[in-house]
Amino acid sequence: MRATTLMAGTVTVLVAGFLITPTIISILAGLSESYARGPREGLTLAWVMEVCDLYADTIMRSILVALATLAITLIIGVPAAYALVRRGGRLARIIEEFVTLPVAIPGLALALALIIAYGGSGDLRGSTAFIVIGHVLYTLPFMLRAVIAVLAAINWQALDEGAASLGASSWQRFVDVIVPNARPGILAGALTVVTLSIGEFNLTWMLHTPLTKTLPVGLADSYASMRLEIASAYTLVFLIMIMPLLLAMQFIAHAADRRASP
């Protein structure tokens, strides 16, 4: 048994090393004067500054797209999750299944469908809104699922009926009772949506135009055509953007665990 534990431990450490090593190389390369000569020759922020100069627009656009995507998934997703839970039954399940399709269908196929349907209308095709549409399509199921999961866990029926017996209208119950009680799910969904949107490439590569590049599109450009230090510094900027989101997600998950098993 000792031998198998030792083996399993070795595999685990090696795999963790396999995941972390290239990330560390990338971070060091982005901060080194020269990749070939290594970080000991001197560290610098010059590459990061250059990335901020070259790609500031892609960074800003990605933040903008993520926030717009979040706003729309909230407006569409939260009321819809409540309605789907309230109604139940086969129709609700079919609707949920249908809008969850973009999780199963590759982004490339979805993007192609959007381009065929709306590629002719030049204003939309060339705008950042086109990218936002794609991102909403892809992230909406995650918002729906997060809110539905919380509603299923908190006994919304009792809250809803309680508020109704006190004379609250349907709309008041939704805004003043359901939404505040669903807040943990909404928050978890929101973090997922923003993280996915900032990193989305499959759809965005097809939907973007030279004037509407996002951060991952810029990354792909820099990997193909820029020196390794710049590509690495750009990757570092991306990591700095998503790390707080990931940490927040983990924090929420841990908090939920602790609440579930006191």
């Binding site: 198998t4 972390i20 090593t21 990330t23 569409i76 999780v103 490339l108 065929i116 995650f142």
Partner: protein, 287 residues
């Protein structure tokens, strides 16, 4: 309960019509968005695929045309290999990490899950840093043997990238499943004289099957449709998403691109749906 209801009559329920009307109001934004940007585009995709030069035969082209069939088969092989490798690694690592508390455990779990939010393009760059022309492994192998090992720009590089991409997405599911495992079962098997290999095959793996199925289906479907990693590594790797991209951009062959997209989408959807009905739990996805 009935008595109480009679003693304290509740306010009359609102008539069913207003309830339904309110549900419709709540669902209106979702319905409008899904109709305009999901239903309509997918319908047009189906139409365009059937309207090409070869008509409805475009749908069959994925198995009748040698180049498409080859790319389909290599994509399925790559996705299967990725799934098997990822599940094997995750099962071993999860059993080491689950229900064990030691210094550095949280660090290990964080290291195994932090690439969760890396898009495919970034994973491709990580593979280049490991096995590319200037990569770490090439440098090490040149120093040791004088020969520079470069694997990033091939199917091997793609496989390494997909495993890199999949491990963080699979490992948490498997750890959770291992933690639900009843340790008494393993203990009983051991006291009956079963060796570690027999315990794995007869006790642990059967108990983990539903979780492995769900996680594996997700891993397979994601690998089938992934595009960013292949795009970063090389345009010459003929996996299905790259073929679709080439048909669309270089050949401007919209009908073939549409038909291949539909075939790919249908395939991944079927895999996920079957896995979900078999494993009985919701398959969560990302990527």
């Amino acid at each position: 309960m009935k008595l109480a209801a009679r003693a304290f009559p509740r306010r009359p329920e609102p008539p069913p019509m207003t309830r339904t009307r309110f549900d419709i109001l709540l669902l209106a934004p979702l319905t409008a968005f899904a109709a305009a940007f999901l239903l309509l585009p997918l319908a047009e995709l189906v139409l365009v695929a059937g309207r090409g030069r070869s008509g409805l035969a475009a749908y069959a082209a994925i198995v009748t045309e040698a180049r498409y069939l080859r790319s389909l088969l290599s994509t399925v092989a790559l996705a299967s290999a990725t799934t098997v490798a990822t599940l094997a690694i995750a099962t071993v690592a999860a059993q080491f990490l689950a229900s064990r508390r030691f210094a550095g455990r949280n660090l290990l779990v964080s290291m195994l899950t932090f690439p969760l939010a890396f898009p495919g393009v970034v994973v491709g760059f990580m593979v280049i840093l490991l096995g590319g022309r200037l990569g770490l492994i090439g440098g090490a192998s040149e120093a040791l043997t004088g020969e520079r090992i470069v694997f990033a720009y091939s199917m091997t590089g793609l496989f390494v990238g997909y495993v890199y991409f999949s491990i963080p997405r699979v490992i948490l599911t498997v750890i959770a499943a291992v933690e639900k495992l009843d340790p008494a079962l393993v203990e009983a098997a051991r006291s009956l004289g079963a060796g570690p290999f027999a315990i794995q095959c007869d006790v642990v793996l059967p108990a983990l099957t539903p979780a492995l199925f769900a996680a594996g289906a997700l891993c397979f479907a994601t690998a089938m449709g992934a595009f960013g990693t292949a795009f970063t590594l090389a345009a010459r790797i003929e996996v299905l998403p790259m073929v679709i991209y080439t048909e669309f951009t270089l050949a401007a062959n919209m009908a073939s691109a549409a038909a291949l997209s539909l075939a790919l989408g249908l395939l991944t959807w079927i895999v996920l749906t079957v896995a979900r009905s078999l494993s009985g739990s919701a398959v969560a996805a990302a990527g």
